[in-house]
Structures are given as C-alpha cells and as structure tokens.
Symmetry: C3
Subunit: 483 residues, 3 copies
C-alpha cells in the first residue's frame, strides 16, 4: 500500500468506527498475513475460563439498569483513572462502606465519563468501551461532553429491550462457556438456578478459597466456622478443615460444574510442612492470633494442600500472586476491596514455588496455571519453569497487562523458552460483562499480529501459524481448563 | 514508498546531514503519520522544567570558551564512554580534585573525541552532538580524525561571535522557560542578576535540598549551620530547621521564580514519624553521628516533610531516586561527584512511598513527579501508582533512558495503565546547553512515532493524536510544573 | 513491495525451505538494508570463543553415531521441552545416573521428536534444528510423524560418510577457531592430540575452575586433592592452592591454547578479603565443612583472585552468573547436572561486583566479560557498568536469551548506554555441534536487522552500519578473547 493510500484510509475512517484492521501490525505485508490469521479465528466461540461476572445475571436474566451502572460504577479500571485525576469515587456513584452519600444521578455520572473520556486514550479501557458502544449498542459517534446525553439515551433505551438482557447477550457474544468465581462459602444458588432453568448457556463456577485459606482475609475465623457448619465437618482440627475443603470442592464440581480453583495470594510462596507442623500452624491461625509471618506460611502451605487435592479431584489450579492489595488506606476504608488501589510488586517464583514443585511439579496429570503482575519474570522465571515442569502452564497477560502492548510483550518474552503449548489461551478475568467480546477480540488480534510477524520474518510457516492461531484462541484453553 | 526508493533515499543522504525523517518509524505508512504529527509540534517553544545548566551563563552572557570546554569536559556521558575504553578523564581535561595535572590543550582533547567518535554510534550522545554540530554551527562533515581540526576551528570561530553567546542561543533555541537547579544554600545571585538585567529570557530555579536533608551529603552538618545563618533560624532544633527550609523555599520562589523542588535520594524510601521521633532523629543527624540506617530514615522523613511544605506553598515535587552514586572509589576520589560512575540499582516504589502516599497521596492539589532509573517499575509499579493516586504523576524517561529506545519503552510500558495525562511531557535534565534542542527534538519525534503507530494500528484517532502530541510537547509540562 | 507480492512470496515458499530473508525485519525498506548488511557478513569465518563441544570429536574424528544421539539425547533444550509436556527423559534415551533402563531404540526416540515437533514452534530450537537438517543434510521436507523415518534414514546414511565427520564439518562450517571448556583437573589429552595430529583446525580450551573453586561442587574436597597431585603443590594451604591454580592456568595456555577463563557461579558476588581472612576461609572450605554462606563468600573471593591471576597472565575472564542450578530434585537425582532443570533468578551486579571492581575495574589491560540470565539488568546495571569501567565488557544474550527476540532486546537495551564497542560479538555456548552455524547465522541476521532499523530511522549512517556489522560478527570477538 502506498503512503498516500495509507493516509487516505486513515483520514477517511470516521473516528468513531471500529476499523477492521485495528490492532494489527502497521507493516502492510505483515498486516495482510495477520488479517488472514485473524479472520480464521474471529468467529470462534468464546471460552472464558476465568472471570468475575455475577452468576445472578444469568440466573435471573434481569435487565441491566442503566448505562452508568453497566459501564462506570462497577469498573475499577474506569474509576481508577478518573480518581488519578482527582475525581473522587463518590462522584461516579461508587458506594461507600458507611452508606454515606454518593452521586445517584446516573446521567450526571455518565457525563463525567464523557467529559473525561480523553484520559483513556491509549488504554485498554478505551478499546473495550468503544467496542461495546459500537458493536453492542450501535453507537456511531464518539463519546464526548457533546454526545454524552445522546449516547446515554440510546444505551438506556436498548437496555430495556429483551435482546439486551444477560442471556441474550451471552448468546449474541457466542460464549460457549463462562466461568464465574465463588467463595467456598457460597451456596451456588445462582448456578443451581441456571441449570434448573433449562437455559442452554453454560456457566460454571471456579473455587476461590481465599476467604477460608488466607488468615488475613476479613472474617477469616468466622468463615472457618461457617465452612464447618455447611460441610458438617469439625474445622477446629486441621484434618476436619481439610476434609471440609475437599467436600466443598466436590460440591462445586457437582452443583457448579467447577473445573478449576483460583488463588489470589500476595506472593507465590509455597510450603510443604510435616503433618504435625501444619496442624500446629492451623491451630494458630484458627485462633485468630497468627502473626503476619504465620499467615504467610499458612497460605504457602495451603497452596501445596490445594495441589494435593487437585491431584485427587482433577481441578486445574490457578495462582494469581503479586498484588499488594488495598495500597491506599483512605480509599480502602471508604470503599472497601477491589476499588482500584491494588498495586503490583516484585514477585518471586523460582524459590517460592519450590516446595510445591518438589512434591507435585513432575506430575503430568496436574495442571497449575501461573499468572503474574511482574513482567520481569516472563523470560527470567515463568517461561523457564513452564518450559520444564510438566505440571506448570502459563496463564495469559493479566490485569494491568491485559492490553495490546502487554499481550505483545507476553508472547515476545515467553514463547522462545516455553513455546506456545505451555500457554493456555486467553482469560478475560472481568466483572464487566459487556467488555468480554472486546477483550477476546483484542487477544485474537494481537496473537494474529504476533504470528504474522513470525511468518513475515520466516520464523514460522503459514500453515503452522493458522494452526497455532486456532490453538491460542480455542483449543488450548479448553484443554487446560478441561472445558 | 517502494523498496528501491527507500534504498535510494538512504544512499543519497549525505552521511553527515540530519535527515528530516530521523527517528521516525521506518514503516512508510506509519512514518507518513508520524511526519505530520511531528510537524505539528516541531516549532513549539521549549519548556525545560528540570535541568542543570549554569545560571551564570544567562546572567553574564559571556562567550563559551572553546569546543572542548563546551562539548567534552563537562559532559559525563562523553567522558564516561571514553573511559570505558581506557581513556582516562585527565586526558580529556576533566579537572582533578587535588589540582593535579590534566590535559589543557583543548585541541588535543577535541582530537581524542574525534578519533573515538565511533564509540558513540547507537547512543544518544551521537544524536545530541551531531544535532548541535549541524544545527548550531552548520558543520557539514562528520567528526573524525581527519575532520577534527576543521570542525574545531569552525566551532571556535563561531563561539567568538555574539550570536553564539548564551542569551542569543537561548532565544534561537526558542526556549520559553528553563529551570536550573540550586542548593538551598545558594544565594541565587545569578537569578537575581538575570531579572535585574531586563533580559526577557525566563530562567527559574528549582529547590534541591539534598545538601541539607541528606546526612550523607559532604559537609552536611556545616550546611545546617549555614542554613541557620542565612535564614536567621535556629537549626539546632527540628522546628527551627523546618522553619529554615520553609523560609528558603519562599526565598527561592521570590528571587528565583521557583515552582518545583527536586530530590535525588538513593532510594524512594519515605517515612511519617511522630513529631517526637522526627525531632529525636534530627538531633542524631544534626550531631553528625547518624548511622547509615538513620541517615536513610531521615531522608525518608524529609520527603514527607517536603510534601507537607509543597501542600502549603504549591511547589511541585520531583523525586529522582535509584542511583548508586560514586560506585567507583578511585574515580570519585580523583574527580569527585557526577563524573560518570553512578550506576542504577533496583528501586522499590510500592512499599517505599507508602508512608508519604498515605498522608498526601489523595490530594489533588499536590503534584509529585516520580522518575526512575529502573525500567522494570514502569509497568509494574509506576503506572499503577500514577494511574490511581491523584497526587502522583510520572516524569519522562530519565538519564540513561533519555534516548530513543528508552523513550519508546517508557510510552509502551506506561501508557496502557497510566494514560497520557498522568505524565508530564519532557525534561532535558542536562548540563549540556547545546544539547537542549536536540533532546527535546528527540522526545517530540519519538512521541510522534509512538502516536503514529497507535493511529496506524487504529488504536487512536488522528485528531486525538494531534491533540496528544501537543499535550506531550507543551501543555502537560506547563501544567505539571506550573510554568 | 506490494501486499500481494508479499503474500505471494510467503505462499510460494515451500514450508521446509530456509528462506533467504529469514529473521530480517518485515518492513521492506528496512529489510532491503538488512539484506545488504547481512550479505556483507554472512560469509565471515565463525569465531566461537565459548562453548561446550567435546574436544574428543576433533581429536578422534569418529563418525557421529545416529540422528538421535546427535540431535536429541545430548540437547537439554530439546528434552526440556518434551519433558514440559510430560515426556520423560528416559523415553528419549537420556541416561540415568543409576544405570536404570532408558530407551535405546534410536529410531523410536527420533519418532518422539518428530511427533512433537510442533512444540518447538516459535523457539530457537526450531530454527537450529531446521537449519541443520537443511544446510547440513539437505533435508527437503519438514520433520513430522509422517516424515520421521525418511529423515532419520537420510541423516543416518549421511553420518556414515567421511564428509560428515567432525573435522570435515568443522571445515565446512568455516570455523576459524572454537573454544571448548575444561575443568582444571582435565589433562587436555584431546587438545594435545589435536595439536599432535597435524590437522589445521584451531581448537582451544577455556579454564573453568568451578570444580575446584566452588565448595558446593560435587567432590570439591577430593578435587582439591587431585589439583594438588597434578600440580605438585600443597593444596592444604591457601598459598599452595593459589599456586596450583596459577600453574594449571599456565598448563591450559601451553597445552590447550587457552585465552580465557569461565565462571558459572549462582550469583555475581565478589569479595576482597585480607590475606589472613582468605586463608582462614580456605581452611574451612578445604575441610569440607563450610556453611552455604561460607561457600558463597569463598566463591566471591575466588572471582577476585581469578581477576588478579588474569591481570598477571592475560586470560580474559567470563562471568556467567544467575542460574539456580538443579531446581528439580527428582530430575537431578535421576539424571544429574545440566539436564534442563536450571532456572534463572534475579541477579545483582551493582553491589555484588563492587569489591572486584574496586580492585581491578579501572585496569584497561584486564577484560572481564559479563553475562546474564536476568534481562532486567541490561539497561539498569550491565550497560551502565560496561559503559564506565575499562575492565568490563558485555557478553552476548545468553542461554534462554540466545534467540531472535532475546538478541533483539539485548541490542535495544544495551546499545544506548554501552555502545557497540563495549560488547564482544557472539558466543554460541553450545554442546550441539550441528547447531553452531545456525546460531551464528541467527546472531548475524538479528544484528543486521537491528542495524538496518537504525539506518532506516536515520540514527546510523550506512557506511557506519557496515563497519559495525563486521565488528559484531568478527572483529570484536577476536579482540576481546585475544583469538
């Protein structure tokens, strides 16, 4: 393509239209290959093995209330950026823990997003929001102070229609299966309701035991009481506690179709204590008097115990370490967890995973998927580990790195040592239901671009690239998560 | 553009001419967009909010003495590279602390640079030097052993002419405002002289309190005496010491037009001690008997105190941590500070900044600009922090990373989480006056290239890209530094 | 080139043929420059200053036994990837330490490689294996389950012919000089035999003292006895031990043509103890009762002692730190060292090298080449160190990073601070003789691509780029290693 034609194309693209070549490499030769690769996977069903959508949506299939409740209030990516420029969470309706006053005028909240939409330039939120506005609601102008009300009205009107209810969108998004994430204390009533409803959409749960394995979790001791009560086990002893967890995993499999567990520890620390030491440590944490070091050791021990349970029941294990949660005490006190004040820190995998790997790392019948917020470990630690241990696989670029540049760095830094086949496709990991198609689309485009570069540089053959593109978009995730 | 035309253009470019497309992406489509973006900002005035030029230059407006004194002797990037290949600082005229003999023949020094000019291939010094040779002095051949004398003579002759005096160059460089950096003990006489002179050039100072807040700074205790004397405060008490600092900041604002402070600590450690503990710690460091740990804690406490003062007087705060200063004892002993033997090390921001952020991080009326020499923190720590805390902004790629690849990595690793609007444009941070236009030009070109890629990949609209280019080159720096 | 022509070219390339433009940048303009740069160095002789081929091959010149013994069994990159997918080392013939049964059917082993060849897509093993298949054996189809036997037969037949013996391949590969690596306890009989044979191929040794300087090395104490015996020195004293090492280095120079030493420590720790403390520490490690901390301190001290010996005898020193060796206890127990279960970890250079650098860093007559497995130190630590200290140079991208993306990151992150002339060209560092031409070819292509980008972006002149390409492929390695 000549320079003039490139410029002309750019110029003639209405700024609010999603370009069919978006996110593909600029070099025309590479783009042509990427375009074909992307086309070959663009229509594949979405397999979403890890995320945080609310199962009540699918169970109740109620209409989403309004544009701000859908796009602003629950999305920590969105209000985090606004807050960084001084717009407090109250102003965009984020509920206070003390029930204090927050903005309730949804249109006013929407206007704040619209007036500040330039802040998202260059960020994945920009991509996700525009993708949803355009592909889901047919918005054909850019969000701005001027267009705010028109777009609000258009989305609000759509949300009242049956084809914008959760199940209809689920089907329209071509979701083959989606996993939510629940605490072991959850009764999975929504999952049961979905199954009982006769609806064909496949929604499964994932077992996230942080509330009952992390002594620093709010309400930990009371949670252990509850765990005992709902399982009929005596959680005052370590043996009873472990039995309760095993029972609960079984319940998740039976009632929630669960195929995986998820562990969000501050570090990747693992331990393999003697039965005696583990029981003594449990007694300390059970009493609520554990020191931070004991809490860390207990979490470490529980990762290894969870691996042992996974060997027995076949659940794929996910480890999501490295977030310094709730870094901002003021925001945490006012608004609680998951409100955008989590900051990553350096994370060690080589030493920290050793105890677990020494015991289970050589088992090809176990799958442990590692994630990171510390990109320095991609080439230094994660790819060498996953390129060796049969039990290990690498999860996709996560959280702050679930973005075009982040995904590109992931492939560039992981592939040469771990290959493609020690990775597990894409996770959207989102609470933002409307962003799911956009996120999977970004991943497919970036992978197509990466593969296209390998083809253009004659490092991968064309036919191989098509096979790999399919594997990354569909096959690997189904295999790793047994979906 | 066809391949043949590309090659032809490359071949037909005389090797010593600055190419109009230099530093723009090679892909013709992307380059065409980058060229337009660059053209839209190339002529904007230079706002230089942080640097180390000598205010005496602007005050006295004396001629620069000779080419080597301008380009070689004071530039640690230049003699560092020569030293790495065994050419000692004495041989290029760097003064010894003991007054021992060093080369004084400026032409001989210049020839050493010329003979070794290939060492700078691929480095920013290559760009900066060639840019100054060509745009300032009209040199039309490459520096080499053969051309050394001709170029020396041409530059030397130019330096005698009035249009090469500091003020004339300042105007020719289209500098709207430049900041120097002074110690609180400086009387700012040069700044006062500039103002008194009636010259229209705007030169401001920045408040760099290291000599009086870092117990490891040479002469620290004596510096506190001086600080007391010049402010009329009693620096034997912590209260008097803090008052002295507040007074001195006020003096910097009034006499030097100061709008910012700058802090060059070895780490990003902050502390928020009780008034009592802080006073007791001050008594220790005041006595000159502080341990290294106490010195570190005092520096940490002073960052928080400085933030408190900034809340009161509105000065923007810059934190430049992470350099292991004076790594080479022999060179330090012979030549003193800032002679090229500073080496970066890993730097933590997430834990280290917590005390300061817990107290002031949520204030939108405070601006703290973070810099780093440890690129691993861009995506892991700095972008998440600046993408959340209202008080935080990110400074540009710094020192070793003030280079095409360094700037590109900065945008690629920072933008997706922090956006563009939590960054503050460019700093040249230089002592090398002649390199200022080159450095700002590099930044504008690299940013144009980055934005062009986003446009070419349809991740950013054209009109948005033009606005962002302008923001990055001009608006954001003025806003962040209140200039 | 038009998009259509690019696609056509890709399509018309038989998938099993090495493309002449492989690994060059996709942008046509940049590729055209890269092609010329590559062409200018493609035919240069191979200088291989560091590696692990077996000197017996060149001494005895016996035929390589079969395809699997050549390509699978000894290559830890190959069986590491198979193992990551659950294929145990026994199944591909890796010998067990206990002599237990492993697969001996070489054709069966080959079929396992063939059936799993897709695992290597995107990895350097894919490039190296295909390069050797095609350029050495003329294989014209891709390795797969279907082609496995045909390819096996073709290679097996070739190996019986004289032109596939080690010396013939050495000559065909255009190797000017290759270095093997031996323990100080090795008698260098193969090196002596090569020299006595009258063959013109130049094979030198490198002095790798880990077995006698690392107290954690298996058999360390017995090794010291042997060292004493073969040198006639009394290794019960530190003085005798140091004399023995000096003698042994001399022997390596005289018998093995040695020009360099190599040090594979877990960290880059160095120390500069007093003579008394060093002797006392030696007594501890000599007795076999050293703690891990003492072992670490002894290794640290020995790096400094080795630097002192290098100042005296002129051997170039290589430091290869940062591998957590034998991370997997089960595989280590079954198969021993170097079987793919080494994992890198974070490595500090700035503090750890200080004692050695304080003593010897300023000597331009000493060459210490630093390598890393921790890419985060390229721009943060290694480039600033090598861009300052006359004694330091940077080794090329190593081990897991000896790959297209790894080499590209190396140049991008190192050049701007250290330049090209503080680097030392390429090391293949391999046991896989057949991969040597492929590895050097990859390095030359990636460097050509990097330089071409600098030219295309007008950051480097064409004539300079040709000179640098030649320096990187040939001149710098000969100079740094005195070959």
């Amino acid at each position: 393509m000549t320079t003039d034609r490139v410029l002309e194309r750019v110029a003639s693209t209405a700024p609010y239209a999603l370009h069919p070549d978006r996110l593909l490499p600029a070099d025309p030769g590479t783009r042509a290959i990427a375009r074909e690769l992307y086309a070959s996977v663009a229509g594949l069903p979405i397999v979403s093995p890890h995320g945080h959508t609310d199962p009540a949506w699918y169970a109740e299939n109620a209409a989403f209330p309004d544009p701000s409740s859908l796009f602003v209030i629950p999305d920590h990516y969105v209000h985090r950026m606004l807050y960084s420029q001084g717009i407090r969470p109250e102003r965009v309706g984020v509920p206070r823990l003390d029930g204090g006053p927050v903005e309730t005028d949804k249109r006013k909240i929407w206007r704040i997003l619209a007036e500040n939409f330039h802040l998202y330039r260059g960020t994945p939120s920009w991509i996700w929001l525009n993708h949803a506005f355009q592909t889901v609601f047919g918005i054909d102008e850019r969000l701005s102070a001027d267009s705010a009300d028109r777009i609000y009205d258009k989305i609000a009107a759509a949300l009242e229609r049956p084809e914008f209810r959760p199940r209809a969108l689920f089907e329209r998004f071509n979701i083959e299966v989606i996993s939510t994430t629940e605490s072991p204390l959850d009764d999975l009533r929504h999952h049961a309701a979905i199954r009982a409803s006769g609806w064909s959409g496949r929604v499964v749960t994932a077992f996230r035991p942080d509330p009952v394995v992390d002594p620093a979790f709010p309400g930990f001791v009371a949670n252990l009481d509850t765990l005992g009560r709902i399982t009929g086990e005596d959680t005052s002893s370590y043996a009873g506690y472990l039995s309760a967890l095993i029972k609960r995993r079984k319940y998740f499999v039976e009632v929630g179709g669960c195929t995986s567990t998820d562990h969000g520890h501050p570090t990747a620390k693992t331990a393999d204590l003697s039965a005696e030491d583990a029981a003594a440590l449990y007694a300390r944490v059970r009493s609520g008097s554990a020191t931070p070091a004991e809490a860390e050791l207990f979490r470490a021990q529980m990762l290894t115990e969870m691996a042992a349970m996974s060997v027995a029941d076949g659940l794929t294990m996910q480890i999501h370490p490295g977030s310094r949660r709730d870094h901002n005490p003021e925001i945490f006190a006012s608004f609680g967890k998951d409100k955008g004040c989590d900051i990553p820190g350096p994370t060690d995998y080589v030493e920290d995973l050793k105890p677990l790997l020494a015991r289970f790392g050589n088992r090809p019948d176990l799958t442990i998927i590692l994630f990171t917020l510390d990109e320095t470990v991609y080439s230094r630690e994660l790819a060498p580990l996953a390129g060796h241990y049969p039990a290990l696989k690498l999860g996709p670029a996560w959280w702050f790195h679930d973005s075009p540049e982040g995904m590109r760095r992931y492939r560039e830094q992981v592939t040469e040592t771990a290959g493609f086949y020690n990775t597990v496709g894409f996770n959207d990991d989102t609470r933002a239901f409307l962003s799911i198609p956009a996120r999977h689309d970004v991943a497919r485009r970036i992978d197509a671009g990466f593969l296209a570069r390998l083809v253009a540089e004659h490092r991968l053959d064309r036919d191989d690239a098509f096979e790999v593109a399919h594997d990354l978009a569909y096959r690997l995730v189904k295999q790793a998560y047994k979906l």
